[in-house]
Structure formats: structure tokens, C-alpha cells
């Protein structure tokens, strides 16, 4: 039996630059979705820049799930999942079309923090002496597996249901999980992606590490001063290609393979030689049976912190040698959306191979000899990309690379 090809048949994006293809076009235009934080008081911080999705409520996307039982990350996830399901033609109105047995539709999602808003509420009650009003939310509403569960409840997906909290590489882990579930025929359709909500806890942590850029995010620039926390959700609908063709769906791109590795070096700092990052890239290439020379675009982890971008450059050069493969970071525009980031960037790679356009790294002014890459500065590029690679690195040394190929 030949190994089935896995294709993307739908995309859903909820970002600070809008939703769906609107977000994609804003990324190509090089717009910034960053703005001063409004959802909590930042007066005790020395920074206030964030990637909040202003005005997002998400209650309207919850048509089966009671919205009051869903945290912000879950609402972002449901909104992205509904979009992706509509985009793929899975839905008949609000419900999964009868073509699919619910048992054959699964969900795999990644996150960094799950629903930290529920911990924040618990802590506010703790300080106010009103814990009784929390009513066990940490048991019922907080655990991060509820994100994948809410999507499944909303779309009636009764197949495999997995939540992979691999921090800032989580979206890629979820896509890898879905890829294997389809290849092993544990499901016929998988919705896979990532979601994270803007949170006081996350913002405070990165601020304490001194990692947040004060004015803008400048990956690979010599003057880069840090990352910017953001929020987003992205969901990809994956199917086996023969199934998708049989129902007349137009695949957007192929997921060609993925690779995982662990630095086993430091919780918050990358390996000094980019060792784990390079191993994840090579594992993905080995798994997809694609030569490094065939990769024409790399969506970088590219957070904009001095260390990440330097070590990532080293890892990319280790794998691709002296060849100047275009490497860009959409985090320059929407910030670091945590567990959603690599899912958003996977959608970017899928659209890049589908349309032959690469989004830029914005705010680029001065080259850094430590980041000697073609970072597609400031302006999107037309380039017939056949193979794209999406890299993601996380706290805990969790690395994941996913490869995308054009449908020819």
C-alpha cells in the first residue's frame, strides 16, 4: 500500500490583522497588528506593546457550545475552526455535512498557556477573598484540553481529540499529530492548529525576562530589541489527498512531513549552536524525503529577541549551508502568538506555496552580521515556491519543523 499524501483543504485564521484571507493579504502588505495593551493595566511595566485582537469576542462563533463556558483561547480556536471547516467545505450550515461520520473527524490543537484567564480570575478571587465565586472553574473550564474539546463539541467531531501543549512550537506538534492520524487512517479529516489568548501572566513573564520590544518587532535586524506577545488562533483542515479529490475539494497545499527534536539544554534559552533546531529541520527533510536544496522558503521562528534570531540563523545555515534561502518572520507584524504562532505560520507556508508569494519581515533597517540571512526585508516577494519549511522553537527545548509542498 502506498503512503497517502496529506493535503490542506481549508484554513482558518484569527489574528490581530484580521481573519482568513484578509489576514493573509495584510501580512503580504507588511502591515503591523501591534498596539498598546488594553486588556489589563500595564502601568507597572516598562513596556506596553502587544498583539491583542481588539474587539474580538467570539461568542457568535459558538453556536453549539455555551459561550460563557469557553475562555478566550477556546473562542479564538472555535472561530478559526469554523472558518477552516467552512473553507474546506466540511459544513452544511452550522453542522458537519452528513458526508462525514463524526467518528472519522478529529481535532489536534496546540497551545502554550491554554486558558490562563481562568487562573487569573482564580488569583483575583484569592486576593479579594471571594474564591467561592470561582465555582471550580480550574477543574471544568481551565485545563487546556478543553480547547480541542470545545472545537469538537462545536463541530460534532467524535474522532481522535488531542491537545498538545508544546509551548511556542505547539501548532506544529498538532499538525504533526494530525498528519500521522490521517496516514494511519485513524481519521478521515483532522482539524489541526493552535490557539493562545493574550494574558497578563504571559505578558508579565516576558516583561520580567526583559524580552519585550518597546516599540516594534524587528526580527533579524541589528537593532532588534525583543519579541512582542500576541494572540491568535489558526486551524488547518487536513485530509488524505485521494479523499479530498474524490469529493471534489481543491487542496491548497500538501503537508510533506515533519520533524521533532528536543534541545535538552535549557528551559528558556536555545542551544548555543542551534543543535536541536537543526535536528528538527533535518528530521523533517528526512521524513518528507526532500533534499535541503529543494526548500525555497523558510518561515522562521524569528521572534525578534537578540538571542533567538542569532541562534536560529546559525541553525538555518547549518542545514542550508551558504545558499541564501528566503527566511521571513510574520512575528514582525502580529507578534509572537505563542502556541498559535506555528499554526499561523503553517497557514502562511501553505498559502506561500499555493500563491507563489512570501510575506516580508517588516521593520528591517540594518543588517546584523550575526543574522546573515535573506529575511525578505519589508516587502513581500513574488516567488514560485514549491517547498516551504516552517520552524518553531519553544520553552522546554521543544523544536518542530513542518514541510509544505505545492500541489502540481
Amino acid at each position: 500500500m502506498t503512503t497517502p499524501r496529506i493535503v490542506i483543504t481549508g484554513l482558518g485564521l484569527v489574528t490581530s490583522l484580521g481573519t482568513g484571507r484578509t489576514a493573509w493579504h495584510a501580512l503580504l502588505e507588511g502591515r503591523s497588528g501591534l498596539s498598546p495593551v488594553e486588556s489589563f493595566d500595564t502601568s507597572n511595566h516598562s513596556v506596553d506593546l502587544g498583539g491583542e485582537i481588539k474587539g474580538f469576542d467570539g461568542a457568535s462563533a459558538c453556536r453549539r457550545v455555551a459561550p460563557q463556558s469557553v475562555g478566550r483561547a477556546g473562542r479564538l480556536a472555535i472561530a478559526a475552526a469554523r472558518q477552516a471547516a467552512d473553507d474546506a467545505g466540511l459544513m452544511a450550515g452550522d453542522a458537519l455535512a452528513t458526508r462525514w461520520a463524526p467518528e472519522r473527524v478529529g481535532v489536534a490543537m496546540g497551545t502554550t498557556s491554554g486558558e490562563p484567564g481562568h487562573v487569573e480570575r482564580f488569583d483575583d478571587h484569592w486576593l479579594a477573598g471571594t474564591l467561592a465565586r470561582d465555582e471550580g472553574a480550574l477543574a471544568w473550564l481551565y485545563p487546556c484540553h478543553t480547547i480541542a474539546a470545545h472545537i469538537a463539541e462545536e463541530l460534532d467531531a467524535a474522532g481522535p481529540n488531542a491537545m498538545l501543549p508544546a509551548a511556542c512550537a505547539a501548532g506544529n506538534y498538532a499538525i504533526g499529530y494530525a498528519f500521522d492520524a490521517l496516514r494511519e487512517r485513524r481519521a478521515d479529516v483532522m482539524l489541526a492548529g493552535g490557539a493562545d489568548a493574550f494574558s497578563r501572566i504571559t505578558y508579565t513573564g516576558f516583561a520580567r525576562l526583559g524580552a519585550i520590544a518597546p516599540e516594534r518587532c524587528q526580527p533579524f535586524d541589528r537593532g532588534r530589541r525583543g519579541m512582542v506577545p500576541g494572540e491568535a488562533a489558526a486551524v488547518l483542515v487536513l485530509e488524505r489527498e485521494d479523499d479530498a479529490r474524490r469529493r471534489g475539494a481543491e487542496p491548497i497545499a500538501e503537508v510533506a512531513g515533519y520533524g521533532l527534536s528536543c534541545d535538552a539544554h535549557h528551559m528558556t534559552a536555545a542551544h548555543p549552536e542551534g543543535d536541536g533546531a537543526a535536528r528538527a529541520m533535518r528530521e523533517a527533510l528526512r521524513h518528507a524525503r526532500i533534499d535541503a536544496d529543494a526548500v525555497q522558503y523558510v518561515s522562521a521562528h524569528g521572534t525578534g529577541t537578540p538571542t533567538n534570531d542569532k541562534l536560529e540563523t546559525r541553525a538555518v545555515r547549518t542545514v542550508f549551508g551558504q545558499r541564501r534561502v528566503p527566511v521571513s518572520s510574520v512575528k514582525s507584524m502580529i507578534g509572537h502568538t505563542m502556541g498559535a504562532a506555528s499554526a499561523v505560520e503553517s497557514a502562511v507556508c501553505a498559502l506561500a506555496v499555493a500563491e507563489g508569494r512570501i510575506p516580508p519581515t517588516i521593520n528591517f533597517e540594518e543588517p546584523d552580521p550575526d543574522c546573515d540571512l535573506d529575511c525578505v526585508p519589508n516587502t513581500a516577494r513574488e516567488l514560485p515556491v514549491r517547498v516551504a519549511m516552517n520552524n518553531a522553537y519553544a520553552f522546554g527545548g521543544n523544536n518542530a519543523s513542518v514541510l509544505f509542498r505545492r500541489i502540481d
Binding site: 471544568w140 481551565y142 481529540n161
Partner: protein
């Protein structure tokens, strides 16, 4: 069992996945104490000492119904398990996982060089990671100001912190994945790890689950009405974990870490491993009604079981041939979940339901959340090895209307087998997940001396 039993390293063209070591810490103690306590019918549960619920009551928590709080605590000295090195950067969940991993790796006899050469992976199931670490970090920011939060706490605030810290501690460079799935996380992790070995992504992986006992989750469980003794306000006797029993009124919160070393059978044979058993099938499915409809919940568990049996190339008729010797169930004393689990097992096992003995280890170790499925698997391994199924601790009478299942009230000896012994592990979550795993010993396990016959 020896490597000689690994004559056929693949099954239906797939790599076979064997278990070659175990490391666990639970309320019954570490590995040997766990097996012994399980067989002797010891309870690892006792009065909660890890923290004082009165602190939460002062903060306005409604914990008055919990008069004699019980817990399944791990008696754990990190120095004993993790040596003299600095454990300060690691929170309790992480320390439990690192300690369990160390036990499994030592049992396998691997050196640091071996570990590096093999690029060992880790797949960890957890419900919370550490909600205590996250909450403490946030409260410090609120009380002292954001500049006074601790960077170490922030590093551990990610849900994959325990897996990352354990990889650093032991130098595990292979695929490293954390799986959240509520009470089913441990079985989900074993399932994902099985797929990673079958797919050739790792020659060896540690896989299992862990959660810690902490004030934040304990208070939440009490306020959610899930804890034994809370709803009835038990007078007199301390509340107990009573899986499947008509008197049950909740679970006893617990902590644990349990990890298995999984290897591809061929590699394990070449490396001279002592094989403890084989994971032959697994499945994880979901109930979009989120467990609110008891019949649907039971049907979802049945589906997980039949999918796992199918993954093990066993069909319904295999049950007629005695394919399953024992079931290691996730029943914990929960009113709702135990009932759905009983009905799901009855549906899945059909007319053999009354014959196949059921283990309910949570009666003795409490509800260790993400570690549950892994501890259930450890219990199954012990039972298959010893050939004796212990009584369900404390079990007397099932609900009226409960299905006819074999819930032992005295220990039962498994009939002799000339071929494999096989067990099923089942896990039903609080809000929709169901998972199952099929495990077998490769041939008839030699019984330890002294056990009859």
C-alpha cells in the same frame, strides 16, 4: 522473558512496540512498593498534609463540606531520587517526572553516553502541568508587583515544563511531547508514543503521565463537587475512594508520575533488553456531548475499546477466545464517570463482561489525573506478571441497575495460559475523552517464587 521472544519484530508490517522498563512514584510508593501494595490491598490514601485547606477557606473558598480532606500523596525526597544536583529550578510536577524517568532509565541500565547515542524521546500526559506554579507566579505579580515575579517560575509556567525539565535533567534529545487530555492524558501519551515508535521517529521513548497535588486544583475539585466526602459532608469515617461502589461520592485527589520505556522490538532485541510486555493497540476518541449524556459517554468508551482492539488486530470474536484476561479500569469513585465506565465496559465486553476481572487501582492511589492511565498500565503489568488479580479495594456493592461485571471482592488467580496474557486499560475523562490501550506479555510470564502455583 528474554530477547529470544522477539523473533518477529514487526506485525502487519508495523514496528512492534515493547516496554522494557518502568519508573513510578505514587501514593503506594515507588515501583516495588507499588506492586507489593497493589497485591496486598494496601491503601495509599490518607489525610491531606501537603497544604492546609483552611488557607483557601480564609480566601473565601467553599470547602466547608470537606471536613476530613484525604489525598494520595507521594512520599518523595527529591534528593534521594535526583541526587545532590540543584533541583531548585524544577517544580514538583517536574521533579516527580524527572524522578520517575530516572528510575526507568536506571532499570534499563543505560549510561549517559547510551542516552545521548539513542536520542531518547519523552511523551508526557498531564492535566495541569503545574497550575500551582502558574497561579503562584501570577499572585506574586499582583501582590509584589510585576518586577518581582520569579523568572524560574515563568519558565515553569508553560504546560510542557515538566517534559522539558526532565529532558534537560537526563539529556533526552529525541521527540519531546506533552499531551493534555484531562484524566485520559496518561493513556493518550502512551498512544502517541506508540505511534512515534511505530513510525520510526524514535528507537526509545519514555512515556506516561504525571500531575501534582496542589491547593489550586484541590480547591477547584472540591468546589466542583468532585471530591469524596464533599457532597455528603461525610461524618465519622474519613471519606474513601470507592470505585464502582454504590456508596461512592467522588474521587480522592492524588499525585503521581509513571513512565514506561518504550522501544521498537527489533532494536530492543538487538540491545539485549529485558522485555516486560508489548503495547499492541490503542485508541483515543471523543464524545461531542462532553459526557453529559450517560449513554453517549458509555458508547464512547465502548468505541475507544473496540478501536483499540481493532488496532491490536482483535475483533469481537477474539473475546470469545479469551483474548482479554484483565481490565485495568480508570474508575475512581466518581458518581458519574464510574457509572459510564461500567456501562461502557459492559457494552464492549458483551457476554464476557461478567467473567473478565476488573482492576481499579485508583481505590488505592486516588485520582492522579494525567498519571492515571499510566499507573493503571503499571498495575496491569504487575497483575499479568503475578497472575493474580487483587480485589477492588473497599468494593462491596454495585449500584442497583449497574451492569454485571466481574469486580473482585477477593483476589482471583488468572487461569494458566500457554500463550500470551493480554490486558485492556480504559480511561474516561470528565468532559468527553475516552481512551483505551491493549497490552500483552509476549509469552507466559514466569511467576516469582513463592507465588502460587
Amino acid at each position: 522473558m528474554s530477547s529470544a521472544s522477539l523473533r518477529n519484530p514487526s506485525r502487519d508490517g508495523r514496528r512492534r512496540v515493547v516496554i522494557t522498563a518502568v519508573g513510578s512514584l505514587s501514593a503506594l510508593g515507588d515501583d516495588e512498593a507499588f506492586g507489593h501494595g497493589l497485591a496486598q490491598g494496601t491503601s495509599g490514601l490518607g489525610p491531606l498534609t501537603a497544604f492546609d485547606l483552611a488557607v483557601a477557606a480564609e480566601r473565601g473558598a467553599d470547602v466547608a463540606g470537606c471536613r476530613q480532606p484525604q489525598a494520595g500523596e507521594v512520599d518523595f525526597d527529591p534528593r534521594r531520587d535526583l541526587g545532590a544536583a540543584n533541583v531548585r529550578p524544577i517544580d514538583r510536577t517536574g521533579r516527580l517526572v524527572a524522578a520517575a524517568a530516572g528510575r526507568a532509565l536506571r532499570a534499563r541500565g543505560w549510561s549517559a553516553d547510551d542516552l545521548q547515542a539513542l536520542e531518547i524521546g519523552l511523551v508526557l500526559g498531564t492535566m495541569y502541568g503545574s497550575v500551582h506554579t502558574i497561579s503562584a507566579f501570577d499572585r506574586r505579580g499582583l501582590e509584589a508587583g510585576p518586577k518581582y515575579v520569579k523568572p524560574l517560575d515563568f519558565a515553569n509556567s508553560v504546560i510542557n515544563a515538566a517534559a522539558g525539565q526532565t529532558a534537560i535533567w537526563h539529556g533526552l534529545c529525541g521527540p519531546n511531547s506533552t499531551v493534555a487530555g484531562g484524566l485520559t492524558a496518561g493513556l493518550q501519551a502512551l498512544g502517541l508514543a506508540t505511534e512515534l515508535v511505530r513510525g520510526g521517529r524514535a528507537a526509545a521513548l519514555l512515556a506516561g503521565g504525571s500531575d501534582e497535588l496542589c491547593l489550586e486544583s484541590y480547591v477547584a475539585f472540591v468546589q466542583a463537587g468532585l471530591v469524596a466526602g464533599t457532597s455528603t459532608g461525610a461524618h465519622g469515617d474519613a471519606p474513601r475512594a470507592l470505585p464502582f461502589d454504590a456508596r461512592r461520592d467522588g474521587f480522592v485527589p492524588a499525585e503521581a508520575a509513571a513512565l514506561f520505556l518504550l522501544e521498537d522490538a527489533e532494536g530492543a532485541g538487538a540491545r539485549g533488553a529485558h522485555v516486560l510486555g508489548e503495547i499492541v493497540g490503542h485508541a483515543c476518541v471523543f464524545d461531542p456531548r462532553r459526557g453529559r449524556d450517560p449513554e453517549r459517554a458509555a458508547a464512547t468508551l465502548r468505541r475507544a475499546i473496540s478501536d483499540a482492539l481493532a488496532d491490536a488486530a482483535l475483533d469481537a470474536s477474539a473475546l470469545d477466545d479469551g483474548a482479554i484476561d484483565v481490565v485495568s479500569s480508570g474508575a475512581s469513585g466518581s458518581r458519574v464517570v464510574d457509572s459510564a465506565e461500567a456501562h461502557g465496559l459492559a457494552k464492549a465486553l458483551g457476554r464476557h463482561a461478567a467473567e473478565i476481572p476488573i482492576l481499579a487501582v485508583k481505590a488505592q492511589v486516588g485520582e492522579p489525573l494525567g498519571a492515571g492511565g499510566a499507573l493503571q498500565t503499571a498495575a496491569l503489568l504487575e497483575v499479568l506478571r503475578r497472575g493474580v488479580v487483587p480485589a477492588i479495594h473497599g468494593f462491596e456493592t454495585a449500584d442497583s441497575g449497574a451492569p454485571d461485571l466481574c469486580r473482585p471482592t477477593t483476589s482471583l488467580e488468572l487461569p494458566p495460559r500457554e500463550t500470551v496474557r493480554r490486558g485492556l486499560v480504559t480511561s474516561l475523562g470528565l468532559d468527553g475523552h475516552a481512551a483505551a490501550l491493549v497490552f500483552e506479555t509476549l509469552d507466559r510470564a514466569p511467576r516469582p517464587r513463592g507465588d502460587a502455583p
